[in-house]
Structures are given as C-alpha cells and as structure tokens.
Symmetry: C2
Subunit: 184 residues, 2 copies
C-alpha cells in the first residue's frame, strides 16, 4: 500500500528531533515536488536544519492536532522502537530527508522533502468529518491569535465551534475545549 | 477491513433508486445509533420511502460532491454489476436497510440506517486536505443559496475559494469552478 500525498496540501503532524523529539502540525505541499514551508523560528525548522530529518505522521486524533500546535509533547507520546521520531498515535508515517531552500522572506523557509521510508500500520476507512476539518481551521486561526493577539483571529477561531458541536464526536469536542484554553 | 462511521457526522454520497438511480451528498450520523436526516422533498427521501434502501458511497472526487448536490447523474456514473445503486467512483460503500422515523418537523425526516453489506475496493491513505473540506462547506452554503436565494449564503460559499486555491489540487479547483456555475 503506497502512501499518496495528493496535489495540494495534506495536513499532518510533523515530528523532528534534536536532543528531544518535537511534534507540530504542518502542511505537506505537493505541487509537482513535495515540500513544506516552515517558520524559521519553529522547533521543527531548527531540528530540520540540524539533521535534515522530518517524519509526517498520519493521525486521526483531533486533540493531538490542537496540543501539538501549542505545546511540547512529553517523550512518552513518541515510539521508543524507532530511530526516527514517530508518534505512538500515528496509523501511518513517512520519513523524509530534507533539503532547505531558503525562501526570500525573513520568516519562512521552503524545505524540500525526499521520502526515505513509509510505514502503514492500519488503514482507517473514515469519510470526511466536518468537525475534524473545522478544528484544523480553528487551530490555524488560534495559533495566529496566540502569536499576534489580533482579536480578528480569535473571532475566526471561535466561529468554528458550531460545526464542531454539530458534526463532531467526544474527541472533537474535547479538542475544541482544549483549543479555547489556549485562547484565554 | 471494517468500515467505521465515527461518532458525529460522516460526509458521503448517498445513492438510492426508484426507476432510475439517484445520488446526493448526505451526512451519516452516528450518535449511538446510525441515522440520517433527509429533506422530505428530496429524491433520496422519496426513493428510501419506496424501497427502504440507501447506499453510502465513499468518494474522493470533489467534483462529484458538487455535481450530485445540484444535478442528476447519468446512469453511466453507476455500476451495472450491482443490485444496489453504487457509484463507479466509490472506493468503498455500505448498503443500508432504512426505517423512517418521522420527525416532528414539516420538512425533514429521520431515517434509521441498518447496515446490510459493506464493500472495500481500495483504502486510500489520504490525510486531510483543507480544500476538500472547504468545498464541502461551500457546497452546503451554495445549496442553501440555490434554495433560498439569500445572498448571505452566496457570500459564505464564496468565502471558501481562497482555501480551495491555496490547498487544493486541479480537481478541487475544477469543483469550485463548477460550484460557481450553480450560483449564477
């Protein structure tokens, strides 16, 4: 079973490491080549810069998306049986060798991704859930609010709560409650 | 491989039939029991009422979501080798026996869904794409605009174009262009 990054942007949790492993949501961009655009000040980028390694974790748990967007995960969330940093929660992952192509902006860098290994543990048959998508959108706005403190982003993030309540399960509701804690 | 409808609402394309097969996007709701809420005036509901059969098609193609929301599909889009109405584009499907539990609203009915058969043809490993989700949201607003002609829904639908352009592939862009045609 091959893992396919479809044309456009696929949302995953990237894991990298230095002395300790790190996890953060990123988009894997497929526009003829695979790459990611990383904030230069992020742990993800500084780790990639150091050892050229990044793992894309496929994760169904919305709480983990929100958590990794805002805080560092304890090492217990990572597998101990792998050389690469891989999340326990990943049902599949792709390890990349990275090459940095500096982008002409101050804050962000383009990182080219070359697949080294891919592992599929299970293949969940889960159709699109609007609540999961709404959580990703809300998390994006919430991280902007967290950084810039512009109330516009707070309003945009909170707007997704109704979709999460209508379409989500217990785990999506828990993720949104957690998100709101990061917004106070 | 079992098909799992997670807690909350899963977005699928429902196929039903009477003399001819019909396809339309619906949500499969899992709140301890599986059910759907259908508009009583829809083809989907009148077909279910007639023969108690509904198939949930798992489809990756965003163009088909938009198309089935607004128009009838030609029979060539359906498999000829199946008794149940199944889309050629489905990578998996679940056939349900339905029982109607009239809801105390004028326009909509609750339909309980009892799985009869499930088939998995392939198991695509595709992480969440924000453009695909944005298309589903835009389609929901667009069908409301189509029905009610309230410009609020038109604005809400068009607001998703930037996410589709940023995160989508060629097929998501094509789907959004098609959606805009139904909005004029």
């Amino acid at each position: 079973m091959d893992i396919e990054f479809r044309e456009g942007i696929s949302e995953v949790i990237a894991t990298t490491r230095n002395d300790r492993p790190n996890a953060a949501p990123i988009g894997i961009i497929n526009r003829k080549i695979l790459y990611a655009v990383l904030y230069k000040e992020s742990h993800t980028f500084s780790n990639v810069k150091k050892n050229s390694q990044l793992v894309a974790n496929f994760v169904l748990d919305p709480v983990l998306y929100v958590r990794t967007a805002f805080e560092d995960l304890d090492v217990s969330f990572f597998r101990q049986d792998r050389d690469a940093p891989v999340l326990q929660a990943a049902y599949a992952w792709v390890e990349f060798k990275c090459s940095i192509a500096e982008k002409p902006t101050r804050n962000r860098a383009v990182v080219h991704l070359h697949p080294v290994k891919s592992v599929v543990l299970s293949q969940p048959m889960t159709p699109t859930n609007r609540a999961f998508c709404a959580l990703i959108e809300a998390t994006i706005h919430a991280t902007r609010y967290h950084k810039l403190k512009d109330s516009k982003y707070l309003e945009l993030a909170l707007r997704y709560e109704s979709i999460v309540r209508k379409c989500g399960g217990a785990r999506e509701l828990e993720a949104f409650q957690l998100l709101k804690k990061y917004l106070v």
